[in-house]
Amino acid sequence: MDTHTTEPATDAGTSGGFPRARSILATRPLTGWRTVDILTITFLGAALGVAFWGWGVFYNGPLSALTFGFAPLGGLFVGPWFLAGVVGGLVVRRPGAALFCEVVAALVSMVPGTEWGATTLVSGIVQGLGTEIAFALLGYRAFGIAAAVLAGALAGPFEAVYESFTWFPDWSFAWKLAYAGILALSGAVVAGAGGWLLIRALAAAGALNAFPPGQEHRETRAV
C-alpha cells in the first residue's frame, strides 16, 4: 500500500529579511502550474476586473470631483487597482501568478469600456510587473503581510513611471516623485494589507482549500 501526500512544503528557513514569515509554499516544482492554479488566477482576475470597472466608475465620478485639480492626491485612490496582482500572488504562490492575475483583471475591466481605454491593459502589465518583482525579490518564499505590503507598494512606482510618460510628462520632477510615493502608499495599504486580509477571509470561508493559504488557515485553527 503506497502512501501519497500532497501536503505542500513548508519553507522552514528565514527568508529575505522576513525572519518570521514562514509561509507555506505551492507544490514543487513552483513552475508546475496545476489546472486549478491557472483557472483560479483567470477567474479571480475576471471577478476583480469587474470590480475594477465598478471602482473606475466611482473614481471617475465622486472621487474625481473630490480630488479635481490635484491629481497627486487622486493617487491615494489608485491602490485598489493593484489588488489583483497581490491577491493572485498570495493565493497561487508561483512565479508569474501576480502578473498574470493583474493582466487578466485589466483586460476584463477594459472590455466594457473605461476612462483609460487600451492603456488599461498597459497599466495592468506595468502594475503586475511591479507586484511580481516584489514576490521574486523574496524568492517566492515569503507570503506574509510584509511581503503583501511590499508587493502592493512596488506596483506604485512602476505605474507612476508609466503615467509620467503618458499622462503627466509636463509635471515637475518633484511632483512626479511625490505621485510615485503616494501611489506606493496607497498600494501598500489598500492592495497590500487589504489583499492580505482578503486572502485570510477567503481561506476562512473554505474557498482556498486547494491552495497554500487554505492550509495555513487550517494549521492556525489546529493549534
Binding site: 501519497h4 500532497t6 489546472t35 483609460w116 509635471w171 477567503l202 473554505g206
Partner: protein
C-alpha cells in the same frame, strides 16, 4: 480515436482507498476496495455526505485537482494509474454548466480533442458523432449559454464520449433537472451505453429510474465505507430496510411521512402588513452583453391574479424555462413586472424598504450557496431577526430548535459555506422562516434532500402553514404539489425570434488582435504632438478614421446606437482629459498651451479605444493569442473560459444583493458607511462563488485531458485577414500625421 471505435478495457480496481481532506478529522472515504469488470454498469448510492462524489473523483484520479488531503491505497484502470491516457475516464458533474468550457457546442465537445492534439480536420466528424450519440441535434455553432439544463448535461456527456473513454462516471447528472429533462438525460445515457461497452458508475439518490440501466448497486454508509455490493435487484430487495434507514429513495417505497415540527412557537406575524398580491403579470428580463448591448425577452407570464392566502400553500409548476423562479423573484421585489404589479397594500413590493420587505416575506433561493450572509450556521439563521431588531432570547431558543428539527443542530458553529448543497438548502429555509414572515417564497425547497431531510422540510412547511403562514412554492416534486391547496401552472412564454442581424461596421471585420493593436497604437500618437496645434490635427484624422471604421455599407438592417455607444464610452475619457489638463496647468508652471496639449493627449489616446474595443470578441481573442502570438496554450484557454463567464458574475452579484435586501440587510444610500460595507460583503460573496466555479471547472477540464495539454490543437482557426492589416495600417495614419507636423 473516435467514438465509432471505442477503446476496449475499463477494468477498474480500487485497493484500500482512504481519503482524508486536510482540515477534517475523519476520512471521507474509508478503506474502499472493489473491482469493476469492463463494460459493467454500476449505480452508487448512499446518504448525503457519504463521499459518493469523492469516490468518483478518486476513480478518475482527480481527488487532488481541487482539494488537498491524504490519500492511501491504490486506484488502477487496466493496470495503470487513471488518466494515463487523456479522457480515458469521462466525468459528468452534477451542476449543469459547471464543466462548460467554450461558447459554442462544437468547440465545447472538441475541447478534449484539442487537448490531445487531434488535427483540426479530424475534429468535426468526431464531434458530430459524439453529439449524435447523446441525441443533441443542434447546429455546432449553437451558443452553450442558450441550452437548457438537460441539454447542457447531454453536452457534457458528449464531451466525455468524444475522447472514447473506457470508464464513464456520472455524478448525479439529473439531480438539478426537472422530470422531463432528467428523462432526456437518462435516455441519452442509455443510448450511449447501448452503443459502447463503457464501464459506467452513476451516483444518484433517486434510484428508481436508473434500475433498468445498471447491473450492480454499491452502497456507501455515512462514514464513507462500502456496506453493500451486488446485483441491483438483489441489493434492493435484501437491503431495503437499511437503504430506507439511510434516507435513500428506494424504488416503489411510498413518500416518507412529514415530521411534525414544533420549532415555531408563535403564529406568523400577519399583523406586520398587508398581504402580498399579484395582478396578472408579464415579466421581462434584460441580459447585458459584454459589448455593452442588451437583449430583452419575456421571462414569465402569470395569466391570473395570485394572492397567497394565510394558512394555504400554493404550488407554481411548469417545465424548466416557464418562469417559476422569475415569478418568485417578482414577489420578492427583485424584478419589477413590465405589465401588472405585485403589491403589499398599495405599495409595489419592489419599492418597499429592506426592513419592510424582510418583515413581509421570506425567500428561499434556488441556489443557496451564494446568498449566505452569516459567519456561522446559527448566525445565518438569525440574520433577519437581528436586522429587524427582534433577536430576543426566545428567538435564539427557537433558532436552536429549528436547526435541530432540520438536522443541522450539530453544525451550529460551522461555517455555512462549508455545508453540502442539501444542508445549505435546509439552512436557507430555516433562515427565511425563523422571523415568521406572513409569506414564504420557496424555490424548489425539496431538491437534493434524502428521505429524512425531505420529511423534515415538508413537515416544517406544513406546520408553518397550519400556524397561519402563506406559502408560495415552485416545485417539480409531485408529493409537494399534492400537499398544496392550489396549483398555478405556468407555460413557457413563446420564444421571440431573434432580431435580424444588422450590417456589420467596417472595423468589425477585423480580428481581436488587430483591434487591440490599433487601440494601443494610439498611445504614441497621443504622446508625440508637442503642441496643441498638432494635437488638433491628429485628433481630426482620428475622428475621420473613426467615422470610416463605424460606417456599415451593404444591404440589411442599419446598425443602431453606434454614435451613442462611442460617446458614452468617451465621456469618462473627456473628464480624464479635463482633469489631466488642469493638473498640468497647476503643477507644470501655469502654462495654458501645455495644459491644453496635455488634455488633448488623453482624448487622442482614448478615442480609438472607445471605437474599437467594443468590437473585440472575447472568444476569438483566445484563439488569436494562442495561434497567432503563440502564447502558452493552457493560460490562454483558462483566460477564454473566464472571459466567457464574466457575464454570469453580474448575475451572481444581483442574486447576492437581492438576498441581502430580502433579509433586511439591503443597501441604504443614505448611510454611506453601510453602503461601502454592503458593497464589500457582496464582492466577497462574488469572489467565493468565483473560486468555487474555478475549482469545479478545473476538475471537469482535467477529466478531459487539460492537465497534460501542452501541445494543443485548436478547433477554430485564427487567420490574419486583409481587414486586420487594413485596420492596423489605418491606425498608423495619426502617428504619421503627428510625425510630419512635429518639427
Amino acid at each position: 480515436m473516435s467514438p465509432a471505435t471505442p477503446a476496449t478495457g475499463g477494468h477498474v480496481t480500487l485497493d484500500g482507498v482512504t481519503w482524508r481532506p486536510y482540515g477534517r478529522r475523519e476520512p471521507v472515504l474509508r478503506d474502499i476496495s472493489l473491482s469493476l469488470a469492463p463494460g459493467e454498469r454500476v449505480l452508487l448510492a448512499g446518504p448525503s455526505g457519504s463521499g459518493k462524489s469523492t469516490l468518483l473523483r478518486a476513480i478518475a484520479g482527480l481527488l487532488e485537482t481541487a482539494d488537498a488531503g491524504e490519500l492511501t491505497g491504490s486506484v488502477l484502470i487496466d493496470g495503470h494509474a487513471p488518466g494515463a491516457r487523456a479522457g480515458e475516464v469521462g466525468l459528468v458533474l452534477q451542476e449543469p454548466g459547471a464543466g462548460v468550457v467554450a461558447s459554442s457546442i462544437g468547440r465545447d465537445v472538441a475541447f478534449g480533442l484539442e487537448n490531445v492534439g487531434m488535427p483540426r480536420a479530424d475534429m468535426p466528424a468526431v464531434v458530430r458523432s459524439a453529439v449524435g450519440a447523446v441525441g443533441l441535434p443542434l447546429p455546432l455553432d449553437t451558443p452553450t449559454g442558450a441550452l437548457s439544463g438537460g441539454e447542457t448535461q447531454r453536452l457534457a456527456l458528449a464531451g466525455a464520449l468524444a475522447l472514447a473513454p473506457t470508464v464513464l462516471l456520472l455524478d448525479e447528472p439529473t439531480a438539478m433537472l426537472d422530470p422531463g429533462h432528467a428523462a432526456q438525460v437518462r435516455t441519452s445515457v442509455g443510448r450511449a451505453l447501448a452503443a459502447y461497452p463503457i464501464t459506467t458508475v452513476v451516483v444518484e439518490h433517486v434510484l428508481g429510474p436508473w434500475v433498468d440501466l445498471v447491473d450492480r448497486l454499491l452502497v456507501l454508509d455515512a462514514q464513507g465505507a462500502l456496506v453493500a455490493d451486488g446485483p441491483v435487484r438483489d441489493v434492493l430487495a435484501g437491503e431495503r430496510e437499511r437503504l430506507l434507514d439511510m434516507g435513500i429513495w428506494v424504488p416503489d417505497a411510498p413518500p416518507p411521512t412529514p415530521l411534525v415540527s414544533g420549532a415555531l412557537s408563535a403564529a406568523p406575524a400577519s399583523a406586520r402588513g398587508q398581504e402580498v398580491t399579484a395582478t396578472p403579470l408579464t415579466i421581462e428580463r434584460t441580459v447585458r452583453l459584454l459589448d455593452g448591448s442588451t437583449r430583452t425577452s419575456t421571462a414569465a407570464r402569470l395569466e391570473a391574479e395570485l394572492a397567497p392566502a394565510p394558512g394555504t400553500a400554493t404550488a407554481l409548476v411548469g417545465p424548466s424555462g416557464s418562469g417559476k423562479s422569475t415569478v418568485l423573484l417578482a414577489f420578492a421585489g427583485a424584478l419589477a413586472p413590465s405589465d401588472g404589479a405585485v403589491t403589499a397594500g398599495d405599495e409595489p413590493v419592489s419599492e418597499l424598504s429592506t426592513h419592510a420587505l424582510a418583515g413581509r416575506l421570506g425567500w428561499v433561493p434556488q441556489w443557496s450557496s451564494s446568498t449566505i450572509l452569516g459567519r456561522t450556521v446559527l448566525d445565518e439563521v438569525l440574520v433577519t431577526s437581528r436586522a429587524l431588531g427582534e433577536e430576543t432570547p426566545e428567538r435564539v431558543v427557537e433558532a436552536h430548535a429549528l436547526l435541530s428539527s432540520l438536522g443541522l443542530g450539530h453544525l451550529e458553529t460551522a461555517d455555512p459555506r462549508e455545508l453540502s448543497g442539501g444542508e445549505q438548502r435546509r439552512l436557507a429555509i430555516a433562515s427565511a422562516i425563523l422571523h415568521q414572515p406572513p409569506l414564504l417564497l420557496a424555490d424548489e425547497p425539496t431538491v437534493g434532500q434524502d428521505r429524512h431531510t425531505w420529511a423534515a422540510v415538508v413537515g416544517l412547511l406544513d406546520s408553518y402553514r397550519r400556524a397561519g403562514g402563506a406559502v408560495l412554492v415552485s416545485t417539480h416534486d409531485a408529493a409537494v404539489v399534492e400537499r398544496s391547496d392550489g396549483v398555478v401552472e405556468l407555460t413557457p412564454p413563446p420564444k421571440e425570434p431573434p432580431p435580424p442581424q444588422p450590417r456589420r461596421v467596417l472595423a468589425a471585420h477585423a480580428g481581436p488582435l488587430a483591434l487591440l493593436v490599433s487601440a494601443i497604437v494610439a498611445i504614441p500618437a497621443g504622446i508625440l504632438p508637442g503642441h496643441w496645434h498638432t494635437s488638433l490635427v491628429v485628433l481630426a484624422v482620428q475622428v475621420a478614421l473613426a467615422c470610416l471604421a463605424l460606417s456599415a455599407p451593404g444591404v440589411g438592417a442599419r446598425p443602431s446606437g453606434r454614435l451613442r455607444r462611442v460617446v458614452l464610452r468617451l465621456v469618462p475619457g473627456l473628464l480624464g482629459g479635463l482633469s489631466v489638463g488642469w493638473s498640468t496647468w497647476l503643477l507644470g508652471g501655469h502654462d495654458t498651451a501645455t495644459a491644453v496639449t496635455a488634455g488633448l493627449r488623453v482624448v487622442i489616446i482614448v478615442l480609438p479605444s472607445a471605437v474599437l474595443l467594443p468590437l473585440v470578441d472575447p472568444d476569438r481573442l483566445g484563439d488569436h493569442l494562442a495561434q497567432r502570438l503563440r502564447m502558452p496554450a493552457r493560460p490562454v484557454v483558462a483566460l477564454a473560459a473566464a472571459l466567457q463567464r464574466v457575464h454570469t458574475l453580474g448575475a451572481v452579484w444581483s442574486e447576492i444583493s437581492l438576498a441581502r435586501r430580502v433579509r433586511g440587510l439591503g443597501t441604504d444610500a443614505r448611510r454611506p458607511v453601510a453602503l461601502v460595507r454592503d458593497l464589500a460583503t457582496a464582492t466577497f460573496g462574488l469572489l467565493v462563488r468565483t473560486l468555487r466555479m474555478a475549482a469545479d471547472l478545473a476538475v471537469a477540464m482535467d477529466a478531459r485531458g487539460f492537465a497534460s495539454a501542452s501541445r494543443r490543437t485548436w478547433f477554430a482557426p485564427a487567420p490574419w485577414r486583409p481587414a486586420d492589416t487594413l485596420v492596423v495600417v489605418a491606425s498608423l495614419i495619426p502617428i504619421a500625421a503627428a510625425l510630419l507636423l512635429t518639427p
